[in-house]
């Protein structure tokens, strides 16, 4: 199959994932409190799963050795927490990988 067709198939699958719950529309207006709590847990749970795997695993899911990334990640995390600034978080993280990694 041509690479372009593979892109199109992946795009269709991705769009179906994005539209999945949105397509239910109005049924999401009055949901039970327990379900509302579960929805509020999605951002912290999903984001930390992605952040942790990108820091600790390689692209083929084998373990990644400790290096300047992990130092920079801790600093970026603390900066984000203390300053509440996305910009400072990103700048401090990138500054450390550049300074230590070169």
């Amino acid at each position: 199959m041509s690479p372009f067709l593979q892109v199109v198939l992946a795009a269709i699958g991705t769009y179906l994932a994005r539209i999945s719950f949105i397509a239910f529309g109005d049924r999401f207006r009055n949901i039970p409190p327990r379900a509302e709590v579960a929805l509020s847990m999605i951002p912290p749970a999903a984001l930390s799963a992605i952040a942790a795997t990108s820091l600790l695993l390689t692209n083929d899911n084998s373990l990644r050795g400790l290096d300047e990334w992990h130092v920079a990640a801790v600093v970026a995390g603390v900066v984000a927490w203390k300053t509440k600034s996305v910009t400072y978080c990103i700048l401090s993280g990138m500054a450390i990988v550049w300074a230590v990694g070169v």
Binding site: L9, A10, G25, L47, I50, A52, S54, A73, V86
Partner: protein
């Protein structure tokens, strides 16, 4: 209720997403280089950034195509990595229900990690559907622009970008910057810890599947840890 103009709302979305736009450009560059090295045509490489709009999945797809994997494995891997968008779809569904039905379908395509999380944070305090709609339009469409531009530059430059640029670190920094403000109470912290631990612990699963199962474990843990009636239920 005082109504805010569309422009004010859209501009607020652009402003909130702008730090992530700085990262989206380099990330597009990485993807563009990966796609070129996989040997796909420039057209296919660039079209993917418009049609899929998910960096990690696109990089995996191109690497698999470059390795000569079967199309079924390549496509399935990309889709599994993007299954997390179902979680974002559920998170924003209540707010999207107030948007005009015809707009929901095209706007769903703009549901990236960054645009969904930044919008969810803003929508905590902004309840006006019109404001929410225009905020999301600003955050999602404008955010994608540097991603597209980065892709095109990466495809054209090809292998001239060296590893010393440390561009791949842009990925974890983005997610750290999104994650930290999303932890607002102790159950959410538990959700984050369990989500991370489970995703890494399940590394033997195909890439992407460990993330979604890890996230579901974190969501379950955080929900159990929340006492009912919810603390926020009081008016």
């Amino acid at each position: 209720m005082p109504t805010v103009s569309r422009r004010t709302a859209a501009f607020a979305g652009v402003r909130k997403i702008s730090p992530f736009m700085v990262i989206a450009g380099p990330f597009g560059l990485i993807y563009g280089v990966t796609a070129t090295e996989a040997g796909v045509s420039n057209f296919t490489a660039i079209a993917a950034s418009f049609l899929i709009m998910g960096g990690a999945a696109q990089i995996a797809l191109m690497e698999l195509i470059g390795d000569g994997s079967s199309w079924a494995v390549a496509v399935a891997t990309a889709i599994v990595i993007n299954l997390r968008f179902m979680l974002y779809s559920a998170s924003v569904a209540a707010a999207f229900a107030d948007f005009p039905a015809l707009l929901r379908y095209p706007l769903a395509h703009g549901l990236t990690d960054q645009a969904s999380i930044v919008s969810l944070q803003e929508w905590q305090t902004q309840k006006d559907p019109r404001y929410r709609l225009w905020f999301f339009i600003g955050a999602s469409i404008v955010f994608a622009t540097p991603w597209w531009i980065g892709t095109i530059i990466g495809v054209l430059l090809g292998g001239e970008i060296g590893p010393s640029w440390q561009l791949p670190f842009a990925v974890p920094t983005t997610f750290i910057a999104l994650l930290v403000p999303s932890i607002r109470n102790r159950p959410m912290l538990i959700a984050a810890i369990i989500g991370a631990g489970a995703a890494v612990g399940l590394a033997f699963l195909p890439s992407g599947l460990n993330i979604i199962i890890g996230a579901l474990a974190g969501i379950t843990a955080g929900t159990i840890a929340t006492p009912l009636p919810a603390a926020e239920a009081a008016p």
